[in-house]
């Protein structure tokens, strides 16, 4: 396990991304691109959390959109019904989401196989049903309007540009945290876990506990992403938090590369670009309308056939059996 090149590589990457963020923030003034960057940032943040769960604990979640929604609704409800400070609402959302994840994860994570996936599928859909039905608090399917913006030092983050300056630093911090985590003692335990649970267990890793911790952390990422979404659009309704988005997040992680720290973020960016590209192609050539969805699905399939391990490979040749390569 050669540690030095690892660190250097990551530091270089982070600095490069940081520079790119600053350059974008300073020189790009078109709100269309800013919006795209903010969307990629928010979705990328949620995907990073899911990537942590998938790549480092070997578990999938089919209900992450539900946790994303918990953050969004916590922020929306606490700020509109109780006029709570948006930052406190964000923290409250993250804490309660983590607790819910604990309650769900504790029983399911003791099991092998994809039971967490099945369990989270159910939890995600129950959460969405509550958003739809508990109209007194959630506004039902019509949602909650006029969610106040986040405020930093008296400055309301109510434009795409200002929000960009919040989201991307958060993403950078998340990447830094994840990089450190992955390289720490816990990280090595996790890596062992993703590769071989039995071996990890034999080596003295408390497997259920480690898995639970990763799962909770991953839902907290989702919750923070949801809070950011709520304050960015100033409107929440149940439909963005359903099964479709859970799947979209999975696609981001897999396309980007689950075993790479950067992978999910790359996945979010590439999918957004692909999506926009296809949508624009359909505007330019109206005959293509409707075909862009088919193309999206087809590109996804073809990509995975030729590059099953995703866009970014792990730094080291880890976990051969978990990857697309022949053992």
């Amino acid at each position: 396990m050669s540690r030095t090149p690892w660190w250097q590589g990551r530091a270089v990457g982070l600095v490069a991304l940081g520079a790119a963020v600053i350059a974008f923030g300073l020189f790009v003034h078109n709100p269309y691109y800013q919006n795209l960057a903010v969307t990629i940032g928010i979705q990328g943040l949620v995907a990073l959390g899911l990537g942590l769960l998938m790549g480092w604990a070997g578990q999938i979640s089919l209900g992450h959109a539900g946790f994303y929604g918990l953050g969004a609704y916590a922020s929306a409800i606490l700020t509109t019904h109780f006029s709570l400070n948006p930052w406190l609402a964000l923290v409250a959302g993250a804490v309660s989401t983590g607790l819910i994840a604990y309650a769900v994860g504790r029983p399911t994570l003791r099991l092998r196989g994809h039971y967490l996936g099945m369990g989270t599928l159910g939890v995600g859909l129950i959460i969405q049903t509550v958003f739809v039905q508990w109209a007194a608090w959630t506004g039902g399917p019509s949602g909650i309007t006029a969610v106040p913006p986040l405020v930093v030092g008296g400055l309301a983050l109510d434009t795409d540009q200002r929000f960009f300056w919040l989201v991307w630093p958060v993403v950078l911090v998340a990447l830094l945290l994840m990089g450190n985590l992955v390289n720490s003692r816990t990280g090595r335990a996790l890596r062992a876990l993703g590769e071989n649970e039995g071996a990890a267990s034999a080596a003295g890793v408390d497997v259920p506990r480690a898995k639970l911790a990763v799962f909770m952390l991953s839902t907290i990422f989702a919750s923070v992403g949801g809070s950011l979404y709520a304050h960015y659009t100033s409107f929440v309704n149940p439909s963005p938090f359903g099964f479709a988005f859970s799947i979209q997040l999975l696609v981001m992680v897999i396309v980007g590369g689950a075993r790479s720290v950067w992978g999910p973020l790359a996945g979010a960016a590439v999918l957004a670009a692909l999506h926009q590209g296809l949508a624009t192609a359909a505007i330019r050539v109206p005959a293509l309308e409707g075909l862009e969805v088919v193309a999206y699905g087809a590109i996804l399939v073809i990509f995975l056939i030729y590059r099953p391990q995703g866009l970014l490979r792990p730094r080291r040749a880890a976990g051969p059996r978990a990857e697309g390569e022949t053992p």
Partner: protein, 294 residues
């Protein structure tokens, strides 16, 4: 709470459950052969319904043909899906394979919208006539068709796995891939058969369902979710489990909606899923433990 009401809820739940069981059987076929959760299963159902509508209204086929022809067509599509998208990924991680099925389902759904448009399409009931009185409950003739066809499909599957060569080879392959290979069974072909059969049973479900709910390009996802839920409830991979899971799910939904709140109907369904996962994680009837998952 009068008994006629209870009976009506039960009848509704059982019919609904039979549909879920059919979808769940499709999930099971693919899962026991390959370990993949095939999210395109709902699209098989959708295609079955829409193709049946086209057959019946545009080509004026007799209803039997209008239902059976799509079954054959979708079997072919299922086989093609395996051959061109799953087979090339021999050594990929399971999650990658699941993503592939999602990609296929997105593309198929988009294609169906292009071909059939966004509006739901009706299909005439298999036999007309008034609904029948049963105790204090009403049951429409199409519901009887659903029950009959679901039962028939279940028996056929059981026969296929016990008595036919291909079926027994598939069962062997699911139990122990390596041993099956040693006796000359080609897992590739068996997996293709699994996808084909899943396509066929999905299309059949779509065909019998269409007169009750209409066929439309976007019915796949919610049916797939419920079918998957039923499969897990019963114990994924077990065919009798699919029936138990489907019926249980249908009944829970109907009773929950009837006696507690219709708004939380779906939540009851998934709450039962969680409960079973917590208490009996391998499902109610699961016997089959996949080796490669260990």
């Amino acid at each position: 709470m009068d008994s006629a009401q209870l009976l009506q809820f039960a009848v509704t739940g059982i019919v609904q459950g039979a549909i879920y069981a059919l979808v769940a059987a499709g999930f099971n076929l693919v899962y026991s052969a390959t370990g993949i959760i095939n999210f395109a299963q709902g699209e098989f159902v959708m295609l079955g319904g829409l193709l049946a509508v086209t057959g019946a209204t545009l080509l004026h086929l007799p209803l039997v043909l209008a239902i059976l022809l799509p079954v054959v067509v979708v079997m072919g599509l299922g086989a093609a899906m395996h051959w061109f998208t799953i087979r090339p990924l021999k050594h990929a991680h399971m999650v990658t394979l699941i993503m592939v099925t999602i990609g296929v389902s997105v593309a198929v759904r988009g294609g169906a919208k292009l071909i059939w448009g966004a509006d739901p399409q009706p299909l005439p009931a298999f036999s007309g006539g008034e609904s029948l009185q049963f105790g204090g409950a009403m049951i429409e003739p199409q519901s009887l068709w659903v029950l009959g066809i679901a039962a028939g499909a279940g028996l056929l599957l059981a026969f296929f796995f016990r008595r036919t060569l291909v079926g027994r080879a598939m069962a062997a392959c699911a139990l122990n891939r390596r041993a099956a290979e040693l006796v000359g069974i080609r897992p590739d072909l068996m997996n293709m058969w699994a996808f084909a059969l899943a396509g066929g049973i999905g299309a059949l479900a779509g065909g019998v369902l269409a007169p009750l709910t209409f066929a439309s390009f976007d019915i796949g996802v919610s049916l797939a979710l419920k079918g998957f839920c039923a499969a897990v409830l019963g114990g994924i991979g077990s065919n009798s489990g699919a029936i138990v899971g489907g019926l249980l799910l249908g009944l829970v939904e109907s009773m929950g909606a009837g006696y507690i709140s219709s708004g939380y109907k779906d939540a009851f369904a998934f709450a039962i899923l969680l409960l079973v996962l917590f208490l009996r994680p391998s499902g109610l009837l699961n016997v089959l433990v996949r080796r490669d998952e260990e």
